[in-house]
Symmetry: C2
Subunit: 425 residues, 2 copies
């Protein structure tokens, strides 16, 4: 850890109060509901905004109604360092996915404030709107809008639960949908010096490895055949010889099996990759226990921090489907894969974070993020970005998320130490 | 063909009139609906009964309300030769599945009658009730009841479309459900000399081979894991490394893929076998494009004329599941397979049928029946039984069945010739 006159400590008591308030205000049944641009997300923004005002931070919102909570720097014209994450959740989600990153920012900035530190540049805690695709079928809405990059048609998407458009919800939340539609940006590459996002890990790597903190190397992109189909023909399971069959299940099984084998081989060769078929189903209206299935629908989901690896798997899936078709007398209709770009996080920032953690005696490992995060948008715009993963059991997007507050405190100590050092001059 | 004084010809004009009447009276929308023990099946019984009365046949029904139409033999006490099939259909079925066997019997007996033949024993055309499992979730109801073998609880099964029990429907159709429940039999092994069933082929073998007639060697039995499941765990498709995954789709794909390979190998070794996974689905309420699937449900359907082959595949499925479980950290719950016995048809009767066909210049091939038929009940009771398949396009259980009346006529010529020869003395 670089030497420093004062050694600021994050305000963990504040973090506890914020987590409690979030749980109390946004729990609905067993899980958390912080609906994007709706009352649940707004309640979380109100809690964060009130805490920021108590800390004497500057508050701003702009067209997309993101919440910017700024500790002013010595040079107000210098690019700002942003710490943040999103405050929305999936329906029946957990209390920490997203919110932990905002609470971490407030705890750290409170620590700087309490230590009497005035940073060289503005340090802004950003509570981002609408990261989850669950509500408007699009991810990173708040971040894209902040950079003036939101596709205008997304504003007309009806929300999955109530059918009312994003534009309507954004206006109700105090935003300016017309400005967002015109691409008016508040953020730009030039105005942001760096971006740091703390987030609970959504997989089992840290729990499995017994390590509290992950330094994220990159955020996997995704190439996904979302609505793939196999067309065969229904026939009697006992009366149709194999030579005549057009069995959609057998053909799809052959495809998925081979792609699974390919994944094992690529992983052994050192490629970063996941392959998943999370949906696979025959048609309930037409299938039957004594019928050959005439159709399947399925998903092929490829993720990697390397776009090259994803492209090879996409091409492999297409080639395999063509090869399997005549063998099973079926027709695959894979469709056009959806794409999200992988993002490489900044190796320099990561190395410095690692140094701060080491100085504080906190074990870390490097790992890829399988899920997408707002940080990928910042990183892909060329802004040096970092992510810290906090150990968490039971994944996320469910009410059983289990983050230990001590692990959270360890992460925020690293963050606070990093912020103080980065903004010392 | 054995020498015979008269050479009886089937009454194909009668057959055409009966098929037309059946189609006219039981078509509903695009398909045929002859609901078991309901108005559709009853309409078919009325058509057959009227034709039989016109031919001067004896009519009887007994407790299960099957329809027995008998050309009296010289010795009324000798065991009867029965020709028959069922008159019910699946919902939106075709006009020929089942009915062709009854129409064939009437055409043939009409031919014997017109040729002035008095057979040595009674020749009975039997229109069987409720063969299709679509209505009461049980097959061969009419045949089982005729032999006093219907499981009593089947009488209490509600019909799938209207919820009223089999007992109620049987009573309304003129039957005696109480007698059926007590196991009162009309037929027995001792009273039946032989059984012959003509039926359209439900697969593509005869069309594919360019042959009008199939001599059925046996009726495949079935061992089916009807409600198999794989239990894994839902997780994020990008964030869960393979070493932690409990992927129900990947595990089920591995199982089905291996069983498909086993089928290919057994078939190459000469075993009679089909293997089909006609249902395979993840849970719509819980699956998702970016989730690993935590559960699958699927069917494993094994059919063979050899029970030994089916038992080996059943055991193989169970052993494979145990082997795959630790590799994928899942649990299979295959359940207890349902069972229907295979039935071997009589080789002597088949050989004589083949001679009659050859004498008439009608090409035949020997083949197994993949679907179940009433003939299997007769055969498994030790009654010498035979089946003739008639070439038919598009399978059955759908409105597109396509049997050529010339192929039907060829089959009934063989049947008529056979009946005349068998009952000559």
């Amino acid at each position: 850890m670089p030497e420093s006159a004062v050694r600021p400590q994050p305000d963990i008591a504040l973090a506890r109060r914020l987590f409690d308030a979030l749980a109390m205000r946004t729990r609905s049944g067993r899980g958390i509901v912080r609906d994007s641009y709706g009352p649940g997300e707004q309640a979380a923004h109100d809690i964060a905004g009130t805490a920021a005002a108590d800390l004497g931070l500057e508050i701003a919102r702009y067209a997309a109604a993101n919440l910017y909570m700024t500790l002013p720097g010595r040079d107000r014209t210098a690019p700002a360092l942003i710490v943040g994450s999103h405050l929305d959740s999936v329906p029946q989600g957990g209390n920490y996915d997203g919110a932990a990153g905002v609470v971490a920012g407030l705890s750290a900035v409170a620590g700087l404030r309490q230590a009497g530190i005035v940073p060289a540049c503005d340090v802004t805690v950003m509570a981002i709107r609408a990261e989850e695709a669950a509500w408007f079928d699009a991810s990173y809405i708040g971040t894209h809008a902040a950079f003036g990059l939101l596709a205008p048609e997304v504003l007309d998407v009806p929300r999955s639960d109530n059918g009312r458009t994003l534009a309507e919800h954004m206006t109700e939340a105090g935003g300016d949908a017309a400005a967002v539609r015109r691409g008016i940006a508040h953020l730009s590459r030039e105005r942001v010096r760096g971006f740091v996002e703390l987030h609970i890990e959504q997989g089992p790597v840290l729990v499995g490895g017994g390590v509290p903190l992950g330094l994220v190397t990159g955020i996997r992109g995704c190439r996904r055949f979302r609505n793939a189909r196999c067309h065969g023909a229904y026939a009697h399971s006992g009366a149709e010889p194999r030579a005549f069959r057009r069995d959609a299940v057998a053909a799809t099984v052959a495809l998925v099996h081979q792609l699974n084998e390919d994944w094992v081989r690529r992983e052994a060769a050192g490629d970063d990759l996941t392959f998943t078929t999370g949906e696979f189903f025959t048609d309930r209206a037409l299938h039957g226990p004594s019928k050959i299935a005439g159709e399947t629908r399925f998903v092929l989901d490829f993720r990697s921090i390397s776009d090259d690896v994803m492209l090879r798997m996409r091409d492999r899936a297409i080639a395999l489907a063509r090869e399997i078709e005549p063998r099973f007398r079926v027709r695959f209709e894979l469709g056009t894969p959806i794409y999200s770009a992988p993002a490489l996080l900044d190796p320099g920032v990561r190395a410095r974070m690692k140094d701060h953690a080491a100085a504080l005696g906190i074990p870390t490992i490097e790992m890829a993020s399988g899920a997408g995060h707002d940080a990928s948008v910042f990183a892909n715009l060329g802004i040096p970005s970092a992510m810290l993963f906090i150990r968490n059991a039971h994944g996320s997007h469910n009410p059983d998320e289990a983050m230990d507050i001590d692990d959270f405190a360890a992460a925020v100590r690293v963050l606070t130490s990093y912020l103080a050092a980065e903004t010392a001059s």
